[in-house]
């Protein structure tokens, strides 16, 4: 049985962030080796400033109250937690070039790579997930 979980994060709103980091931290806490490839809008999720102000999906703004009431951890907290548990973050070089971003724009401890870097990690993964 594979002990790897590979995740592609390609969207950048608050819901996307929770989907990615909840699965990633839960998998890492279950002794899985976890890698997340952040590409296109998904880069927002690990952007030093961006991750603090991720937007709600359009029309869902009223759910902010629900998030507060359910005592859900913040995204920066989940990012810290994921890294502490050993989740590997890979930022997509091509998207960074297109958006004019450098490694310093993101949280510490990430890797920057291309599609093949991720594919090499993901080839033995089960499950592989896309958000």
């Amino acid at each position: 049985m594979s002990n790897r979980v590979a995740i592609i994060a390609s969207n950048g709103n608050l819901f996307d962030a929770y989907k990615v980091f909840n699965i990633a931290t839960a998998a890492a806490a279950s002794d899985k080796e976890v890698g997340v490839f952040f590409t296109f809008e998904g880069l927002n999720l690990i952007h030093k400033q961006g991750m603090h102000t991720l937007p709600m999906p359009e029309g869902k703004e009223s759910m902010a109250e629900g998030f507060a009431k359910a005592n859900v951890p913040s995204i920066p907290e989940l990012v810290d937690m994921a890294q502490e548990l050993g989740v590997k973050f890979i930022a997509c070089q091509m998207t960074m070039d297109v958006m004019g971003l450098t490694k310093e724009d993101f949280v510490d401890g990430i890797e920057v790579g291309g599609a093949v870097t991720f594919l090499e990690f993901a080839k033995d993964a089960a499950p592989a997930l896309t958000f």
């Binding site: 931290t25 005592n71 548990l85």
Partner: protein, 75 residues
């Protein structure tokens, strides 16, 4: 049931009860028992699934007034 350590994870929502349980059990020795208190209903299914994935044993589980208690023996 006697436990070696009690983790209060009440009020936390997914995935924090699992993350906190994992971090706490890492500090225990093999065979020791961790008692976890949670209020997240998702943990009813999640903690046993997590224990199974990691090889730990749930010795006992109960629910009183919305507080779910697990006794987990470390593998």
């Amino acid at each position: 049931m006697i436990s070696n350590y009690v983790l209060d994870a009440k009020g936390l929502s997914c995935p924090m009860p699992i993350v906190r349980t994992k971090k706490t059990i890492d500090t225990l020795r093999s065979g020791e028992v961790l008692e976890v208190h949670v209020t997240d209903k998702g943990a009813l299914m999640d903690l046993p699934a997590w224990a199974k994935a990691c090889g730990h044993t749930i010795l006992e589980q109960s629910e009183i007034d919305g507080v779910i208690k697990f006794f987990i023996q470390k593998v």
